[in-house]
């Protein structure tokens, strides 16, 4: 995807220095484009925990390359594997909800264990991490290939008038490696010349919509309008939303979806107004081991300062301002769970299916064996 006309991914090996990983430090977007060098496992863990990077696939990709960094840091021999194991635990403890973090680091760890020495482990970790990252980008692209058909059908019904998409949070390319999940069908439509307009939920408390989704849509020339999280229901009541696309941090086998806090409210409004509500996800975010999202998905609680303060630009500088009385407490859960019954369908790299165990197993029959 592009920023100021230049092609970017969200994470990459530094040119001429493969021992340094570069990321876009998203905390400064949309006001400043800051590229950060990651040179130690501690820096990787901090980048995930403090949300320099976020979004389930990008968290997974960053942690995977974090294990490569652990191999680089590790001494030879048994102490080396100990450092790598500790690094794995450290990286996995950064964020609790997104499942990619666990499945991807598992895969890298299993691969690197086959190495007989530091050099082999390092090479295996890098190879596997890059392989996962490529796969993830391709999966996001395919979500667009499948999802664009939904937009196309609506566009035809509307006689070519712009299709109004609503999205929550940032499930865009900035949350992934490339293309995004919820934005992938939108970019595919835009590329295909289908007129599309996106309602961008600002997504308090961290405003990933207002900051990141608006930024990336703007960079690609996709028409969009920023709205407060409170507005979507009203727009749906008045026929101003044709379809909703959101991402997923974890999807259960039964089709329950954990996504950014507030997603559930939009699903309820879509249901009430018969607006199609689709969840876009690479299969890596499916947790085949659980069914009941409300009971089984751990929901991250973050610091109350993210609610009490907000960051924005004032006279060219990024500042934090206090929004509440200083003494008022606040609470901050990062995600909620949308029950499968409110989801019109899941869009994965393999196609579109109903949000149900049956639907998912038709796309992923190889998962029949896991959990009965």
């Amino acid at each position: 995807m592009e920023i100021n006309g230049k092609h970017y991914r969200t994470i990459w090996l530094k040119e001429n220095d493969p021992t340094t990983i570069q990321i876009i430090d998203q905390r400064f977007l949309p006001h400043e484009l800051v590229i950060e060098d990651l040179r130690s496992v501690d820096e990787f863990a901090a980048a995930i925990k403090e949300m320099h990077v976020r979004g389930a696939p990008l968290i997974g990709g960053t942690a995977s390359l974090g294990l490569y960094m652990a191999c680089l840091e590790a001494p030879e021999g048994e102490a080396g594997m100990e450092h790598i194991s500790q690094s794995l635990a450290q990286l996995r403890s950064t964020r609790p909800t997104a499942v990619d973090l666990f499945s991807w680091t598992d895969r890298v760890f299993q691969s690197l264990q086959k190495g007989q020495n530091k050099a082999e482990r390092t090479a295996l970790a890098l190879e596997t991490a890059l392989e996962i990252i490529e796969e993830s980008a391709e999966h996001c692209r395919l979500i667009g290939v499948h999802g664009v058909d939904l937009i196309k059908t609506i566009s035809e019904k509307k006689g070519g008038a712009p299709v109004n998409v609503l999205t929550h949070c940032n499930a865009g390319w900035i949350a992934c490696i490339d293309y995004g999940t919820a934005t992938s069908p939108v970019y595919a439509a835009h590329e295909a010349g289908i007129p599309v307009h996106v309602w961008v939920d600002e997504t308090r408390p961290r405003n990933q919509g207002a900051r990141l989704t608006a930024y990336e849509l703007g960079q690609h020339g996709v028409p969009h309008t920023v709205i407060v999280d409170n507005l979507g229901g009203h727009l749906m009541q008045h026929g101003m939303v044709d379809i909703v696309f959101v991402g997923s941090d974890r999807t259960t086998r039964a089709g329950d979806v954990a996504n950014k806090i507030g997603t559930y409210l939009k699903a309820l409004a879509a249901h009430d107004n018969k607006v199609p509500f689709y969840v876009t996800l690479p299969h890596s975010t499916i947790d085949w081991n659980i069914r009941d999202g409300l009971k089984e998905i751990p929901i991250e609680e973050r610091g109350s300062e993210e609610v009490k303060f907000i960051q924005g630009q004032h006279e060219g500088k990024i500042k934090q301002v206090l929004l509440t009385p200083e003494s008022s407490p606040a609470i901050n859960y990062g995600f909620d769970v949308t029950p499968a019954k409110y989801v019109s369908g899941l869009i994965t790299e393999r196609g579109i299916c109903p949000a149900s165990e049956e639907g998912l197993l038709k796309l992923y029959p190889e998962q029949q064996a896991v959990l009965k």
Copy 2:
């Protein structure tokens, strides 16, 4: 109600100067308590339009005293009535949604027209405006008297554990003359020693919850927690909300409720989770002339800068910060309509009734005659 231990109302005649009206300029709360003098109709209109004051009853009360100011400004004779009529139109054009603005200024205007000269008109306008303001404060008090029973019943069922109330926007005393509407049952419970805790929706874009509701609850020592607007659904899914109280800017004869944007989303979540959802309103906000809120209530569209920028405190000073890319457009509707079917009941100064024409007419049988 109290601020720093001193009793306040939201609007009053200046001590020793009855030709000046004083208000709390709410734009600076919770960071600064600014008292503003209003000395001309233009200042009254600006105070309403630019939201130095807001909330349906307080808008009505301010506009009513604005007509008193119009009488003070008016010349003798026919030109005087012309100025008053123009002032009426000016005050009524400030905000479109809240019905009190129209019904209260009607009442003051009808009263002052009986005056034979400037002095009589002025006296009648002041008398009627103050009468309405007293009535409104008493109506808010009575909403608390009726509503507290709902809290008491829940408290008993919970064995005295704190009752968790969720509220949206500020339907507190700062939105009214005194007591508030949605907060009145909460204050009544608190006074009665019933443990109560309030989840305060921050209520983007203008954050009346985070700024005003949190402020007034804090000043009264009522336990509360500020939350983003996205969180309420999750809290309800997890049994953390016992009851919802919101205000109303306009309620139709059939029980549809226009209130701050986002109210509808909370009503949907309450319905989905079987949480009682009550709308508190003095009868002045009932519009007996309409039934279908979605079709018939005009919804105010405000400037996009309220979405793109936010105000907060930084290093002791109030600052506005930009939240979005500078070039991204935004849209800003102030209210939405919650259909009556999602409202558990209406609490008015006369008692609690179902959100239906039948329910309302049982409390207000004298309205049978209006519109069939």
